[in-house]
């Protein structure tokens, strides 16, 4: 059984008990435990079921590479699935549940899959669920959905807070082991500003467990000393519980800081995503131990040798009473020696190397441990827990020589440097035959903005394993990084480290070497996705020769652990099956993040009310208080209409329109874009921007204008007012203000840079209120003594007046066909003016109207709306707006394009009015059909609806549309089929439905 030892545990505080619950059962751990170490201390070896076959699975590792111990963590609004027990720090009150089983961990219905294992090979889903086609929707998909996924999806809104933080550094060191600390020290001593990230809560990494000496003292003393030196250096930032999640172009890196995962009641954000820009990045990310592939290597109790050592040394936990060791290298002997020295039983060390190990083997032998060279595991006995192993010769086919009782198997297949962060942004890898691993090709580093390498690997992550070499490599990396960041390397030399020298490993990818199909079907590569040696071999046989294809076919390395312990073994098996060397097979692409990070941390503050910026006018609060039903217009929220008690939206719109047409109403038009163009060349410039002539507009007058892009298509419209000789104020659509301002600046800066024109976007300087309706003048006259008569301020004129003591600019423009004044005042006075106008209009039953009323009234008048009549493919000529296209001007944006053959095609659909015969409202976007079918067997069409409304003024449906030869077909009736069947017939009419002569607006 696994248990807590009486002594040991450098990271735990034995005096502090911490209680937690697993699958509803209460357990005790110690402060400093991870959830995994606490579970093991409570003899909970089995922690879940595998994904496909639902086989019992136990803890395998002690760090981020753990594939099995994934839990549903927390409850309610703090719930999160797939949390790794090995990287979860224990806290009082932690609750977690195991995943992927039903009804419970010990007894699981899905485990029946394991008996079907031989019928569920790689690619099973692809092969099985193809036919019959109809089965997919009703049989296969529901079944797969039921059993797909590991943890449960959270049901409640996340209760926690997340944020981003931007940091800048000369040198970013990722990894806080001895290499990272030494690299940081060297870089800092060279004068660089340094930031060091360590993903766990503790510094020093593996070295503190593996031992060795630095400058004659134990390695943990070196860690303490270096750490305190770095802490005192104001140029150095040390952050623990922060993982280097990704390395991106130009020295950009993401740091994933977990602030309150270990103390959920603490205030502040749970995770902080650091967006770091570094001149140089040192990846001191260490290495990950590889498992060995033998039959039954997934039985709970089979673990990485280094993990067993970690649990013993760091947490004082013995994973079992009798630990058999199986290895192809010397490092695993350290586990044997550690366990033996703690008084635990190590019945055998199976060293697959015929020649055996080096000095560490001698040390183990001296402790009385039995060592069998050239031997391997034929199979592991036990289902929910290791009960023993059968031994065979590595060189053979698995004939059992002997059975040995044990409750833990410590395996080691060698080490793979963590090259992920090196590779994220394009760092290349080399295959190292000596250590049977990929390591960074330091001559092919990822390159930054200046084309120079910006990532330097250090220590074990660079494929250097001996402590002395690790320290000197890291020292050199730190100095190189500082130098590349513009500092000069310090003269300090690297400390000297010593550890026991190791004999070379033997590349062992399958155990035993001649394992037959039966054994290979029980030899796991990817524990989380249930991929076995036999699956990869099958993929190779079926032609998936590319590693990227084989990965997707078998799902090897596609689980939440992204194959940290399985990829290299899988590659080796694939290479073997393809009969080619491993480097020729290559690796799959390493992509960020290194381990999963919370989606919420990516969102940062952008959730709830901060999800996106909403733009609000100064009158917004009034709208909100008065029943506004808002609609988004760009980032603005504009009232669509104002609903009174019990009123439907339609009824509100009708009431608002009738109120406007019969008396007077207000519209908050503040969102309309307002751009000033000033300078001696402003007229010439606007002549280029608009299709109309603007340079001959008289000061004090307004003119409606159209703006096209260079491609000829209509992109914006609005009224231009000439303020003085040099100065124009251009109104744009609500959504267009920023774009049009950018568009103007683009042409001024990049094409006509010697033209003397300055622009300024003053959209938000003004609150703009339209006072509209036959009584508009009467309302205004109550608030001003200035002359606003038709003579003093005629239609399409504007003037400055004093309104309620505030100076205002008043434009006589109308988008409704009514007598209309658009009043602009500084935004700070906008709300007050709105209130005054409502008071002044009370005797006329003044109303307010929203965007729908605005739309309906403009449609009644046949005015176009950008975005309704236009969609980026419509030119002004299509809209019969020839009157707004200057023929005198030699040039304007869009002029050349509008003479292209397709643009002058007489068959382009043109704008007309549409009047339904039965008075009903045409559906928006409806198409008018023509005779016959096109080449695709679809009904031919001859037009489409661009705007359609119920007109309260005319008490019938009205519409505008683009119709083939429309203007020549007045009076003709065309058919608009409805989605639900049936046809609406509409007559082609003039698009101006109301007050054709403009008598109402021009008074």
């Amino acid at each position: 059984m696994s248990t807590r030892l009486a002594t040991g545990g450098r990271l735990i505080d034995r005096t502090k008990s911490v209680s937690f619950s697993f699958n509803g059962k209460r357990h005790e751990g110690r402060a400093g435990d991870t959830l995994a170490s606490a579970l093991l201390a409570n003899n909970q070896m089995m922690v879940g079921r595998s994904f496909k076959y639902h086989r019992p699975r136990g803890i395998v590792a002690s760090g981020v590479e753990e594939p099995n111990a994934l839990f549903n963590m927390g409850e309610g609004a703090g719930f999160e699935p797939n949390q790794r027990a090995t990287t979860t720090e224990l806290f009082d009150g932690l609750t977690c549940k195991s995943q992927n089983h039903w009804p419970n961990l010990e007894f699981d219905i899905g485990a029946v899959n394991k008996y079907l294992g031989r019928f569920l090979p790689a690619g099973f889903y692809y092969k099985m669920f193809m036919y019959p086609r109809a089965f997919w929707k009703h049989v296969y998909e529901p079944f797969i959905r039921q059993s797909a996924g590991l943890g449960k999806a959270p049901r409640d809104r996340d209760q926690d807070k997340y944020e981003h933080f931007y940091a800048f550094s000369d040198v970013l060191v990722i990894g806080g082991g001895v290499a990272g600390l030494q690299a940081a020290k060297a870089a800092a001593e060279s004068g660089a500003k340094v930031m060091v990230l360590e993903q766990t809560a503790d510094w020093g990494g593996r070295a503190c467990v593996d031992g060795g000496t630095v400058d004659g003292a134990p390695v943990d003393k070196f860690v303490q000393k270096t750490l305190s030196e770095l802490q005192e250096n104001p140029n150095v930032t040390l952050r623990s519980r922060m993982m280097g999640a990704g390395v991106y172009d130009h020295g950009y890196a993401l740091g994933y800081e977990r602030l309150t995962d270990h103390q959920p009641d603490a205030p502040g954000p749970r995770h902080r995503l650091w967006r770091i820009r570094a001149k140089q990045i040192v990846t001191a990310t260490g290495a990950i131990e590889r498992p060995l592939s033998f039959a039954g290597n997934d039985v709970p109790g089979v673990m990485l040798a280094s993990a067993i050592r970690d649990y013993a040394v760091n947490f004082g936990v013995s994973v079992g009473d009798r630990t058999a060791i199986v290895t192809n290298n010397d490092d695993a002997y350290r586990t044997a020696i550690t366990l033996k020295n703690m008084g635990l039983d190590v019945p055998v060390i199976l060293d697959a190397r015929a020649t055996g190990g080096g000095a560490l083997a001698d040390e183990a032998r001296a402790l009385g441990i039995r060592i069998e060279n050239g031997k391997a595991i034929a199979k592991v006995k036990g289902t929910r827990r290791v009960e023993g192993i059968s031994i065979c010769t590595q060189a053979g086919e698995g004939a059992v020589l002997e059975d040995i009782k044990c409750d833990v198997v410590a395996m080691s297949g060698g080490w793979s440097p963590v090259v992920h962060l090196w590779s994220h942004c394009g760092g290349k890898l080399l295959w190292d035959d000596t250590h049977a691993m990929f390591r960074p090709d330091v001559h092919k580093a990822p390159t930054g903005a200046a084309g120079e390498g910006f990532v330097i690997p250090a220590g074990t992550a660079n494929g250097v394993f001996e402590l002395g070499e690790v320290l000197s490599d890291a020292d050199a990396a730190g100095k190189a990084a500082a130098t590349a960041a513009g500092h000069s390397a310090s003269k300090q030399t690297a400390p000297s480290g010593t550890t026991t020298k190791e004999a070379p490993l033997a590349p062992i990818w399958l155990m035993p070497q001649g394992a037959g199909p039966k054994l290979r079907m029980k030899s796991w590569l990817d524990y989380q996705n249930d991929v076995k040696v036999s699956d990869v071999q099958l993929a190779a046989r079926e032609g998936y020769a590319s590693v990227e294809h084989a990965k997707r076919y078998t799902t090897l390395g596609m689980a939440t652990d992204q194959g940290k312990i399985s990829n290299i073994n899988g590659l080796a098996i694939l290479s073997d099956a393809l009969n080619q060397p491993i480097p020729q097979t290559g690796t799959t692409t390493f992509r960020p993040p290194y381990t999963p990070i919370s989606l919420a941390s990516i969102a940062g503050e952008a959730r709830g009310e901060l999800f996106q910026p909403l733009r609000k006018t100064v009158i917004h609060d009034w709208h909100e208080e008065n029943g506004a039903f808002f609609e988004p217009v760009g980032a603005w929220r504009r009232p669509y209409c104002y609903q009174q008690d019990g009123e439907t939206v339609d009824a509100a719109v009708t009431r608002e329109i009738n109120g406007t047409r019969n008396s007077v109403a207000l519209l908050d038009a503040s969102t309309l874009g307002k751009i000033i163009a000033k300078g001696p060349d402003a007229g010439k410039f606007l002549d280029m921007m608009y299709t109309n002539m603007m340079s001959n507009l008289k000061p004090g007058k307004c003119r409606y204008g159209l703006m096209c892009g260079e491609n000829g298509f209509l992109q914006d419209d609005g009224v231009v007012a000439r303020l003085d000789d040099d100065t124009f104020l251009c109104h744009t659509t609500t959504g267009g203000a920023e774009n049009i301002h950018g568009h103007m600046e683009d042409w001024l800066q990049c094409e006509w840079w010697n033209w003397k024109v300055y622009t300024a976007n003053v959209t938000e300087q003004y609150a703009q209120i339209a006072v509209v309706g036959p009584n508009a003048r009467k309302v205004l006259e109550k608030l001003t003594t200035d002359d606003i008569s038709a003579e003093a301020l005629p239609f399409m004129g504007f003037g400055d007046i004093t309104l309620d003591g505030v100076s205002a600019r008043v434009y006589r423009i109308s988008f409704s066909g009514e007598l209309s004044y658009e009043i602009a005042v500084p935004a700070s006075y906008g709300r007050a003016l709105w209130d005054r106008l409502l008071e002044a209009g009370a005797e006329f039953d003044i109303t307010t109207y929203g965007t729908e009323g605005l739309h309906v009234m403009r449609a009644e008048k046949g005015f176009i709306m950008i975005g309704d009549e236009t969609d980026g493919t419509v030119i002004p000529q299509d809209l019969m707006m020839h009157w707004a296209i200057s023929k005198k001007k030699e040039d304007f944006l869009g002029k050349r394009a509008q003479s292209r053959s397709h643009m002058t095609d007489p068959n382009r659909w043109k704008l007309v009015g549409l009047e339904t015969l039965d008075g009903s409202v045409l559906p928006n976007g409806a198409y008018a059909v023509a005779d016959g079918e096109n080449a695709n067997g679809q009904r031919n069409v001859q037009g489409r609806v661009t705007s359609t409304y119920y007109s309260p003024t005319l008490e019938r449906g009205i519409a505008m549309g683009l119709v083939l030869h429309g203007p020549d077909r007045m009076g003709e009736v065309i058919d608009f089929p409805k989605v639900d069947g049936g046809v609406i017939q509409a007559k082609i009419v003039d698009q101006v439905f109301f007050d054709k002569d403009g008598e109402k607006q021009n008074v």
């Binding site: 009310e609 938000e764 300087q765 007050a832």
Partner: protein, 189 residues
């Protein structure tokens, strides 16, 4: 006669940094040839300050000037004096090619006060806020979460931020969120 109302009407939040929506501030966008003597004199007359160097600002209370782009300045003047100063500017620059417009009401302004002010900005803007990279007299236009913003530091522990008025509420909520107690980063303060 109505009284002008400032964005968010003086809203205030006390976090690990104090966030204050400021009152009305007169602001003028001035575009022109920044190297011209005439412009220099006009700016000096309007703000008491010379034309600032690239990305610099000199603001004393409610009066000063900030460098916006190679041909644009933002002048700060008392709100009540905006019309007078704008008129004076127009007179002084007669004959120059320039643009001067009142943008006082188009902007919202916030003040951060406290040791963590730099960190609040660093949570929202992709700008190096360490003291060796940014300090009093520097002026920066950038992105604050999802909106454009400009800021400067009146002192080493305070930041003044200018953004568009329509997003004042969003900006205030951003700053509030970033300044919540417990959110100290311990990196820049």
């Amino acid at each position: 006669m109505s009284e002008p109302v400032a964005p968010l009407n003086g809203a205030k939040y006390e976090g690990f940094v104090t966030v204050q929506a400021m009152g009305l501030q007169g602001m003028i966008t001035l575009r022109g040839d920044l190297s011209s003597t005439k412009v220099g004199k006009a700016v000096k007359a309007a703000t008491g300050q010379p034309v600032p160097a690239q990305r610099k600002a000199a603001v004393d209370g409610d009066t000063g000037v900030a460098w916006m782009s190679p041909d644009e300045l933002l002048l700060f003047v008392p709100y009540a004096e905006i019309d007078a100063r704008l008129d004076a500017l127009h007179k002084a620059l007669t004959g120059e090619h320039f643009l001067a417009v009142n943008v006082s009401d188009a902007r919202a302004m916030f003040h951060l006060e406290g040791n963590g002010a730099r960190e609040v900005i660093a949570k929202l803007c992709p700008v190096d806020m360490s003291p060796d990279a940014f300090g009093p007299s520097d002026f920066r236009r950038s992105r604050m979460a999802q909106i454009p913003a400009a800021f400067w530091m009146p002192t080493d522990v305070s930041v003044q931020i200018v953004c568009f008025r329509s997003v004042a509420e969003y900006a205030f909520n951003l700053l509030k969120d970033a300044a919540e107690p417990g959110g100290q980063v311990g990196y820049l303060a």
